[in-house]
């Protein structure tokens, strides 16, 4: 649903960047979050840091496009280039404020599947967890990003690669994973929060109708007003500054 002003993915990057607070340590993996951290640290979150499971720690955008966390511009003038045990230890001891996750499937409690999905009779193998399961289990909060496609929204994921919240309304209280669990889902049409561990519609992207969004889910998705979190708003458009940054960080639109 690209407009003439910006692409869906540019809006997703902007919305993801907004989930990073100033001072946060953010756990950044593949794809859009690579750009989102760079936008956040360049705008409202100048004192945030990014940690990458490869062993990289950064406090500033890379001076050049990065396809992966290990592209040399992401290592050059990093704060630290170390190993995974160091980074995952920060996560496990509770020092990571926010982590980003993608997924092929998500359910109403924020469980994610990136391991294997069913397509008719066939089971399709996906790449797997990478560090996603670890981030999902242990980050203070996680932000989920995925294209808005109805087949991705399921009552029960085929495989829990990255745990979400408990299904009893207790969020992470009665869940064995120690972190805070999902706090937001950003799709190409809307943003969602979690209330008592369950997904609810927080905002729709400019030009998107809330009912259309809700119709894409196989369960009755709550809205912000259903759960006492205000009303469904309209997602902020990327600012001119954000768009300029996104197009600097990803000049050929490889990710966005």
């Amino acid at each position: 649903m690209a407009s003439e002003e910006y692409t869906d993915r540019e809006l997703m990057v902007s919305a993801a960047a907004a989930e990073i607070d100033n001072g946060d340590t953010a756990f950044v993996g593949m794809r859009l979050p690579l750009i989102a951290f760079q936008v956040a640290v360049s705008t409202h979150a100048p004192d945030s840091m990014a940690v990458y499971e490869s062993g990289v720690v950064r406090d500033a955008p890379a001076d050049g496009f990065i396809h992966t966390m290990c592209d040399l511009p992401n290592l050059n003038r990093a704060v630290s280039t170390t190993g995974m045990i160091d980074i995952m230890s920060r996560l496990q001891r509770g020092d990571v404020d926010v982590g980003f996750l993608g997924g092929a499937e998500v359910d109403r409690y924020g469980n994610l599947n990136t391991t294997r999905v069913r397509a008719g009779d066939r089971e399709v193998r996906l790449p797997g967890s990478g560090g996603a399961c670890d981030i999902a289990c242990m980050a203070d909060r996680t932000v989920l990003l995925m294209p808005h496609e109805p087949r991705r929204f399921v009552e029960e994921v085929n495989y829990v690669t990255s745990p979400g919240h408990a299904s009893d309304g207790s969020g992470r209280e009665n869940h064995p994973a120690p972190g805070g669990g999902p706090s937001a889902l950003v799709t190409s049409k809307a943003t969602f929060g979690f209330h008592d561990g369950e997904l609810y519609l927080r905002s729709t992207h400019p030009g998107v109708d809330a009912d259309d969004v809700l119709a894409d889910f196989p369960w009755d998705v709550n809205t912000a007003s259903d759960v006492g979190e205000g009303t469904v708003t309209t997602t902020s458009k990327p600012t001119g500054e954000e768009l300029e940054l996104i197009r600097t960080f990803d000049p050929d639109g490889f990710w966005t």
């Binding site: 396809h67 280039t81 190993g83 995974m84 391991t115 996906l126 990478g130 399961c133 289990c137 994973a177």
Partner: protein, 298 residues
Amino acid sequence: MAANSLPTLEEAVSEIESGSSVAAGLALEHAIPFAVGHELLRQGTDDLTMIGPISDLLFDQLIGGGAVSGIRAAWVGNVSAGTGYRFREAVENDRIRVENHSNFSIALALKAGAMGVPYLPTRSLLGSDIFEESDLFARAEDPFTGDEVVQVPAVNPDWTVVHAQRASPEGDVHMWGNTGITDPAVGAAENVLVTTEEVVDSETIKSDPSRTAITREQVTAVVECPFGAHPSPLTGHYNRDNEYYLDYHSQTDTQEAFDEWADEWVYGVENRDEYMELVDADLSITEPTVAAEVQYGQ
């Protein structure tokens, strides 16, 4: 290892027997030992169990070439493009065993091996199917706090393969840039094969002992192998060849297509020099950063 004449890549790789377990691709998208992977394919080594965190293409290529019977990893694919078709097809057709890990669980398994303990505990995996569907891990109650933890059993690969910036003939190795799980994988391994951009004298290594990532008693062989990590990047030496990843993705969606790709890039070249002639990209470092000086002394 003994510091006599160094083996060639062919000689060193021939020591890796079919049926071995091999940890590789340990620094994630950085410094992946592709040269060793391709030589394994040329030598027809097979029945390998590949161990690693994410494997950005390397495992997919080895699967495509029929070298692999098992995978112990967290992610197998192509970081630039997503799916690794050879992996996906092999799993869907039950041609390889897959042990699903998270990055941290495979890291901890190797770290347990490196530390010489039977397992390491973690707070990760709890509530995931990586844990629930597997009989690999154990659930335990921590005796001090009563907390639930997962115990990840040690993994000790037969071989760990590493590509580094410089190494001495004795087998002492300098690495810089991120290292992922290289350190635990080296410590856990029975044998370590090091390919390196540059063989340097021992005095170069000893001028900066805090830079030493691997010491000689862990190393089975050192091989000089410039561009040994291409198409992955190597800090201080060359950038990622992203087009290669995209081309591979578009050219390997069937086994026939893969075979054609491999005929050109793997079987059609004798060695790494011939291989590099195929590469049509300027990956050189145009904006070098020189590390601030450090002194030791007495």
